[in-house]
């Protein structure tokens, strides 16, 4: 069976579910005021896309989410690696990480409103800080957990000590780092939506809220659908990228 067909078969229960949704609506099982039909949702989707700048809202949301995510990835991986390599960095950062670990980073959103106002920076900051901690921790654990003898082998084969973290530790830790990044990616979407819900100023999260307030429930469902599709696609894209980067792994 070809790969595409296998994927379609795997997701079939979801397609069946969608069909059941539409049938339930048609048959009158669903209160259209509270639960629009699939058909209504889809036509609302088209309407939003063509008339209500759905694409622009989506672009803005993705811009905020990606900026925060990539910043967190860059800072997080470097910090995690530094923590694993250098005792002083570790002694300074580890207690801070442990102390802030129990704090839900979304709780910082009100603080960011206070500090950064209601523009893009508050949302990007929320995504950045929320994703930073898990990435640092995963990278640190991954770098610590690699086989020390890989380092010794490279060292004895002539690699200078300062080069070893980037040449040896990072590739060896990469599988675990990518797993952590995947989780952080999902988190980045959640934080972006939460920030937009709370702060507003366009974007898909804001759109969902506005449509709800206006009573356009089919539109609201459509916007939720849009966010869901984007989040899901980003995850699958990331998986594919992981597969490419880690093709040396034993599958």
């Amino acid at each position: 069976m070809s790969k595409a067909l296998r994927v379609a078969v795997f997701y079939m229960p979801i397609f069946v579910g969608l069909i059941l949704w539409e049938l339930a609506a048609r048959v009158g099982l669903l209160n259209p005021a509270l639960f629009p039909s699939l058909g209504d949702t889809l036509s609302a989707f088209v309407r939003l896309a063509t008339k209500a700048h759905l694409l622009e809202h989506a672009e803005l949301s993705v811009y905020r989410q990606s900026s925060g995510f990539f910043l967190a990835a860059a800072f997080g991986i470097v910090s995690g690696m530094l923590m694993a390599e250098n005792r002083w960095v570790r002694n300074v950062l580890e207690p801070l990480l442990r102390a802030t670990f129990p704090l839900p980073k979304s709780a910082l959103i009100p603080l960011f409103i206070l500090w950064l106002g209601i523009g893009d920076s508050a949302k990007i900051a929320a995504v950045f800080l929320g994703c930073l901690l898990p990435i640092v921790v995963t990278t640190y654990n991954a770098a610590r957990g690699i086989n020390k003898q890989l380092v010794w082998s490279a060292w004895s084969l002539g690699t200078p000590k300062w080069l070893i973290p980037w040449k040896i530790v990072l590739p060896a830790a990469l599988p675990e780092v990518m797993s952590g990044l995947r989780i952080a990616l999902a988190l980045s979407f959640t934080l972006m939506v939460s920030a937009e819900f709370l702060i507003g100023q366009r974007g898909l999260g804001t759109l969902i809220g506005t449509l709800g307030e206006d009573g356009d429930y089919a539109g609201m469902f459509a916007a939720v659908l849009a966010v869901t599709i984007i989040g899901f696609s980003a995850d699958r894209l990331f998986l594919w990228l992981s597969g490419v980067l880690l093709r040396w792994q034993d599958r």
């Binding site: 950062l93 709780a107 979407f189």
Partner: protein, 264 residues
């Protein structure tokens, strides 16, 4: 010798948290000297004072209780439903066929985006918040339970059968205990998540709880309250996490313990 051991423990605890202590001290000193805008970053002492006041007049305890209740109820629902669903998936091929794609899709999507839908259905009160918490937390719990119950080492099962356990009893006698560490790990991951969602939904719907407390503080430009709320949330989170870790240690006293991801 005893005394030295005791102080050694204290000394090590201090050394381990040195940078936190330093940050707190710096916070107080820099704000006192006006290095930072005192509105945006109120001095630590002011925050603690505000926190103490609100603690005494019962406001903070009330909010902690409200948030705590939401967290626990939502989590309990997710745990019960999630473990049952995960176990069902491992036992029934049909259940697995139906649920696997659902879980696979549910994982990466920002489930918080469904909150307005839940509010539409359940109103602005606690029901929609609890629904959101349960919805979000059930996914990792199902996944962990399914994984734990399906990857039980076959040698455990074969040994049990060899020693006389009948097939139908295998589930309760072998699979559940063997899967327990992984299931509890899943619960342990979902628990802080429940607190996060509780706080976020409170912020979004205004009203009660720590989330509501902080949002009101922003609206009324009371920055010291915002920080006091953050501290209260941080402490609540710590208590919950420690409590769960303690519970895990009691339940899994037999297990060669491996650390929970992230909670170094």
């Amino acid at each position: 010798m005893m005394a030295r051991a005791q102080f050694g423990w204290l000394r090590r605890g201090f050394e381990r948290n040195l940078s936190v202590v330093v940050v707190l001290i710096l916070w107080e000193i820099t704000t006192r000297f006006g290095v930072f805008n005192n509105f945006l970053l109120p001095p630590l002492s002011k925050v603690l004072a505000r926190g103490w006041l609100d603690l005494l007049d019962g406001e903070i305890p009330r909010q902690v209780l409200a948030t705590g209740m939401l967290t626990l109820v939502g989590f309990a629902l997710a745990a019960a439903g999630g473990v049952a669903a995960g176990a069902l998936m491992s036992m029934s091929a049909v259940a697995r066929r139906i649920m696997e794609p659902l879980v696979s899709v549910a994982f990466p999507i920002p489930k918080i985006s469904f909150l307005p839908i839940f509010i539409l259905w359940f109103g602005l009160g606690d029901a929609s918040k609890i629904a959101m918490i349960a919805f979000t937390c059930v996914v990792p719990i199902i996944s962990a339970t399914f994984l734990g119950t399906t990857t039980v080492d076959k040698y455990f099962l074969w040994s049990a059968q060899n020693l006389g356990t009948k097939r139908h009893a295998l589930f309760w006698k072998v699979i559940i205990p063997a899967a327990a560490p992984q299931v509890i790990s899943g619960l342990q991951v979902a628990f802080p998540l429940a607190l996060i969602i509780a706080v976020v939904t409170e912020m979004l719907t205004g009203g009660d709880g720590l989330g509501g407390y902080m949002i009101h503080a922003v609206r009324f430009a009371q920055s010291d309250k915002v920080f006091a709320g953050l501290l209260a949330t941080l402490l609540t989170g710590m208590v919950f996490i420690q409590g769960f870790a303690w519970l895990r240690a009691r339940l899994l006293v037999w297990h060669a313990e491996s650390a929970v991801v992230g909670a170094t």
